[in-house]
Symmetry: C2
Subunit: 373 residues, 2 copies
């Protein structure tokens, strides 16, 4: 690698890069291609930024901030109008081509073998031939998404929706217009676009959109400057907040604590901003309470009946090497998963996976046996 | 101070004590008497243990563990029978006499000037003359408790309930029988005693007691071995758990996050252990949800109307020096409080106090202005 050139592209001094390489940047030598990963944001370089062995760089996708008071935040943040897109509930990948091979990177900058196989299958073959520097920022969603399995989208397997595009070796993304153009040119699906609204009234339309999405069990919206001049914001439906609470409480000892607090606080601000009636607020409270208590008691009862607290997911792969690779990938991400025997399918294999929710499993067993909290 | 003698009493080596004194033990020189405080548990010595300048030691009150599954925990923990007492919701003090003066210590080992004045007023004068080494472990409760203001107990001011007794310079406490004896001998109130039940069936009676206490807005129970052979346990009502949630969420940015999780998880286990019907469980979920959302939206709305997020409390003191001392004490505990002008009362003063809930106040203001979470 030519360190000087890489440092120049990253916009940092070469000796700074050298010292980071010794300390803060992790190497990932598997699967091919080998790469260096920025685990965390360092020196202003986004977490998830990746330097491939051939010297090409893919920047991490910037994390999107969340307002709790929509109207105030929109007026504060946006310039004149607001483009509203769907925020889908899956996992975020950056897909590009390195030395002629399609590669799908996770948020953290790992090559995910499963996402790579899915991307290779779903993308048109010529896309990276025509645009060798293109980076597709896409959400992978569907019931066969092993990270976040959701069946509210129109797929019974796994699908890919473009939400932004970028270039290798260039910081920043290109925003709404360019994304729509690429999607059109290559026949890619893109996240639903709800329109562009004036800054002063956008919050009213967004409220309607979010309520409707919530009723369909969908997550929420991303708000973008149509000309890409300011960073996007995100905002979610009450159903999505409560769904997060439900997942968190069914695995209450495994999830970060601030997960709970943030979801509950979002609900409070949404209820105030939307000036809910006493009945609406009580209905929201009921939803929150049930999202907490019912999954929690289910988990406890399941454990009481001797079950293992786990999550069942399913993936479909063309090649068994992908499955083995994905097994290794989950392990290195600290997820304990047991893979079933692959079942031959149309032109590949279906594989059931059991994710063990270790900490909640063990803690619940201990508490049921009369141990103290 | 004779370090060797103190080290012997504490059961540690003198050079260990010397090194702790240089590092881990804090000195508190105000108010009189001067003392050394064990801020945290060190070398097996309970947090809150205090060494007075005259060499006398008062051990910290051991923290009481909490089962989530009552029946299993009782069978696991107790030997034959279980004494059940009320757990009152106030603040826990250890009261003793040092060099002839009554001193009330907080959980952390500070002398609290207000609690000391209250204890001096409520205790019979001769108690420490007759029993100079006695340490009274008591709960101070009532609306004029500035730490935890509660109006469910039979006092419109502040009162003191004995729940255990200990000796200066001796580790451990004396338990139920001795506590009842001292209360009787000196005419002290003690925490309600609900009886002694066989280990095998105690959980059924405790459930009834806890449900009844909950309906009265009271906290729960402490379970003790009648012969003081094993450590006590505590268990609380759903109303108390939800009340904690309500307080936590009305000051959502000031309270420790695990506060939220632990209360919710308690509710889950109680609901499973008590084999609630679908309706009972939904009712509990509603209670949890409302405990979270309603105080939270109140806080946001109050701030929206320009109010400062704060808590109003009231104390009554005989001497203005006590009030000034208490003001200083709150400050050293990191609590920001503004004291009103004292109002002369029967034989002393009533003083309103405003506790500012800083973090929630500032965070809510920022979020209302459209800042991001």
């Amino acid at each position: 690698m030519n360190l000087q050139r890489i440092a120049d592209k990253l916009g940092i001094a070469v000796d700074r890069l050298q010292s980071l390489q010794d300390t803060k940047i992790s190497e990932s030598s598997w699967p091919e291609p080998q790469l260096l990963r920025f685990d965390k944001e360092i020196s202003g370089i986004e977490a998830g930024t990746v330097i491939f062995r051939n010297g090409e760089i893919v920047w991490g996708y910037p994390s999107i901030r969340r307002p709790l008071m929509l109207e105030a935040a929109i007026k504060r943040h946006f310039i004149d109008s607001v483009a509203v897109e769907e925020k889908m509930n899956g996992h975020n990948v950056r897909i590009t081509s390195i030395d002629g091979d399609v590669v799908a990177l996770t948020r953290g900058g790992f090559v995910c073998p499963y996402s790579t196989e899915v991307a290779t299958r779903l993308l048109p073959e010529d896309i990276f031939e025509e645009k060798p520097n293109l980076v597709l920022c896409a959400e992978m969603v569907g019931p066969e998404n092993p990270y976040v399995s959701q069946d509210v989208y129109p797929t019974d397997s796994i699908d890919l929706y473009l939400f932004d595009v970028a270039q290798k070796n260039q910081r920043g993304t290109h925003g709404v217009h360019k994304t729509h153009e690429i999607a059109e040119d290559f026949g890619l699906k893109k996240t639903a676009f709800f329109g562009e609204f004036p800054r002063e009234t956008a919050h009213k339309r967004i409220k309607e959109i979010v309520i409707k999405l919530g009723r369909q069990g969908r997550e929420g919206v991303v708000l973008k400057d149509p000309e890409n001049r300011v960073a996007p914001l995100k905002y979610t439906s009450s159903e999505s907040n409560c769904n997060d609470l439900a997942i968190a409480f069914s695995h209450y000892n495994d999830y970060a604590l601030d997960f709970f607090l943030s979801r509950a606080v979002r609900e409070g601000f949404q209820s105030v901003e939307w000036q809910e009636s006493v009945e609406e607020r009580r209905e929201r409270a009921r939803r929150i309470g049930e999202s907490i208590l019912l999954p929690l008691t289910e988990t406890i009862k399941n454990k009481q009946q001797g079950e293992i607290i786990m999550q069942r997911i399913k993936i479909r792969v063309k090649s068994l090497a992908t499955a083995r690779g994905f097994e290794y990938h989950l392990r290195r991400c600290g997820i304990r998963a047991i893979f079933d025997q692959p079942l031959p399918d149309d032109d590949g294999y279906t594989i059931g996976i059991t994710k063990i929710i270790m900490s909640t499993n063990d803690k619940t067993e201990a508490l049921l046996n009369g141990e103290m909290w």
